[in-house]
C-alpha cells in the first residue's frame, strides 16, 4: 500500500515539474538560434546572458529594485500595524474591540477591483500616481487586514498573566508591546511577512493601474508588458525574465516551508 502511494506521488510530482523544466530549458536557449520547434530538448546554456538582456532591454532592472522596496517595506509596516491592532484588541481589551477587528479585517473581503479606479483617480490628483511612495502605501494598506487577523488570533493564545506581570513591574503599554508581545509573536510575524512579501512581489493589478515608469513599476507588471511586446525570437528572453521574476519567491518558499507550515498552524485557521 505504501509503495503504491510512493509511486503515485513520485510520478505525479515529476509530471508537475515538467512546466518548470520547460521554462528553465527554453529560458536558457540562445535567442539567435532559438526555435519553438524543439521545446523539450535542452540545446545550450545562455540563461545568464538572457537574464542580462531582459534586464537591459525592458527596464526590468529598475523594476527589480522598486519591487524589492515594496516587498520588504510594505509587509514590514503592515505586520507592525496589524500586531499593534491585535495587541490593542486582545491585551489592552479595547472597547468594541471585536467591532474594530471586523472593520480592519473587512478590508480583505472585497475584490481589489473595487478600489482600483478611485485610487487611480485620487493618486493622480494628489501626485502619488507613478511614485514609489504611493505604491508602498497601497501595498501596506492591502497587507494590514490579514496581518491583523493572524496577530489577533495569535495574541488570544498568550496568557493574560504575562501582561499583568509586566504592568506590576511598571512597564508602559508601549514597552509591553515592543519588549514582550512582539518577541513572543516573532514566528507568526515572520510567517505573515513572508506571505505578504510574496503577495506584493507577485502583484500585477495595482502595478498596472497605479504606475507607469520603469523605476516605479513592479516587476511582474513589467514582465506582463514584455510578454505582449516581444515574440518569436525574443521568446527565450521573456522566459528568462520569468525565471528571474520567479526565483526569489520560489527560493523564499523552499527555505521556509517547514517554518511556514508551523506559522500557519499557529495562526489557527
Amino acid at each position: 500500500m505504501k509503495s503504491i502511494r510512493y509511486a503515485v506521488l513520485v510520478v505525479l510530482g515529476l509530471f508537475w515539474l515538467l512546466p518548470a523544466y520547460l521554462l528553465v530549458v527554453n529560458a536558457a536557449k540562445n535567442p539567435m538560434t532559438f526555435t519553438t520547434k524543439t521545446s523539450w530538448a535542452p540545446t545550450d546554456f545562455h540563461l545568464f546572458e538572457n537574464i542580462a538582456d531582459a534586464m537591459a532591454l525592458s527596464g526590468l532592472g529598475d523594476s527589480v529594485i522598486a519591487t524589492l522596496i515594496y516587498a520588504v517595506v510594505s509587509p514590514l509596516i503592515a505586520v507592525m500595524v496589524g500586531a499593534a491592532a491585535g495587541f490593542a484588541i486582545v491585551a489592552l481589551n479595547l472597547k468594541h474591540g471585536f467591532l474594530w477587528f471586523v472593520v480592519i479585517f473587512g478590508g480583505t473581503v472585497f475584490p481589489l477591483q473595487m478600489v482600483l479606479l478611485p485610487l487611480f483617480d485620487a493618486y493622480s490628483r494628489v501626485g502619488a500616481y507613478d511614485t514609489r511612495f504611493g505604491m508602498v502605501i497601497v501595498y501596506t494598506a492591502i497587507s494590514i487586514p490579514f496581518s491583523a487577523f493572524v496577530m489577533r488570533n495569535f495574541f488570544t493564545g498568550v496568557a493574560h498573566s504575562v501582561f499583568e506581570a509586566a504592568v506590576l513591574d511598571g512597564a508602559t503599554t508601549w514597552r509591553i508591546f515592543v519588549r514582550l508581545y512582539l518577541p513572543i509573536a516573532s514566528s507568526a510575524l515572520v510567517a505573515i511577512f513572508i506571505l505578504q512579501a510574496t503577495f506584493v512581489w507577485n502583484d500585477l493589478l495595482l502595478g498596472l493601474t497605479l504606475s507607469q515608469s520603469d523605476n516605479v513599476r513592479p516587476i511582474v507588471t513589467t514582465l506582463a508588458g514584455m510578454q505582449s511586446t516581444y515574440g518569436g525570437a525574443q521568446l527565450s528572453t521573456v522566459l528568462a525574465a520569468a525565471v528571474l521574476v520567479s526565483l526569489p519567491t520560489v527560493v523564499l518558499f523552499l527555505c521556509t516551508q517547514r517554518f511556514f507550515a508551523k506559522g500557519l498552524a499557529l495562526g489557527q485557521y
Binding site: 520547460l22 475584490p111 504592568v167 514582465l223
Partner: protein, 311 residues
Amino acid sequence: MTTTETRTAADVRSPHPTTPSHPPKSPYEWSARGFVAPGVILVAVLLYLPLLWTVYLSFTRYNGLGSPEWVGLENYVEMFADAGFLTSAANTLLWVIGTLVVPVGIGLGIALLTWNLAGGIWLRLPFLIPYALSGIGVGVIWSFILSSGGALDQALAVVGITDPPRWLLDAPLNTVVMIFASAWQGVGVNALLFTIGLQSIPKEPLEAARIDGAGGFRLFGSVLWPMLRPLTAVVVGLSIVASLKTFDIVWAMTKGGPGTVSETLALTMYKETFVNSDYGLGSAVAVFLTVVTLLASVLYLRQQLSPKREF
C-alpha cells in the same frame, strides 16, 4: 507599584464566559485606541473610501474628465444587456467550479497520499514550487506550452496526434485549459492546508476506527472527511473568493481574447475602466463582482467567526 494598579491589572483580565457581556472598563482605553488607530486609518482611507466611491460611480456616467453625471441604474441595465458581460459572468462561474474541483480535489488527494508517509514533506515539494510563482509567471510558462505548435503540441505529435485542438483560441476550451494552468499553481497550497488539517486530527478516533476494521476509503469517508470539515470550509471559501477575482493568468495567456470570449468579470472590469474609460460601467461590474464575492464569502466568514473561536 501601588495597590490600585494591582487591582486595575486584574480588572483587565478578559471577561469570563459566564460574566455579563459588558467587559469591565479598561484603564488602557486611550492607549488601546492609539494602537488600533494606524490600522483603522490606513484601511479606511485606502480601502473603504475608494470602495464607497466606486459604488457611487457605478450610478454615474464618467470618463475621468469633468465630473460624474448621475444616471441611476443605467450602467447596470446596460451591463446585464451586454452579451460580453454575460460571457464573462459564465466564464467566471466556470472558474469557480473548476477551481473547486481540480486544485482542491488534487490538493486533498496529495495531502492524503503524503499523510504519515516518511519523507512526505519532500514529496509535496514539486507541488509547492508553482505556488510561489506569480500568476504572470505561470501564464508565461503555459502560453509557451499551449501555443499552436508549442511544447504540448510537439509532445502530442510524438504519439501521433497531428491535429491538436487550438488550446487558447477556441472558447470555452481556452478557459478550461487556463483553469488547469491555475490548478497547476494552486494544488500545492491546498495540499499544505489539508496536511495541516490532517496533522491536527487526534489519534484516538483514528485508532478506534482502525481497530474496528476501517481502512482506505471507509476510513476516509467515516472519520477523516468529517473531521476535516472545518478546514474544508476554509479551503473552499478561499478558493471561491480567489477564483471570482481571477485576473493575472487570463491577462497573461489570452488577455481575455480572442475578442472577449475568455474574459472574467475581473478582466471585464479592468477593460471597461482602463481601456475604454467607461468608469461608470467598469464600476458597475466591480460592484456586481463584489456582491457575488460577498455572498460567497458568507460560507467562509461563518466558519471564521463561529462562536467556538472565542472572539
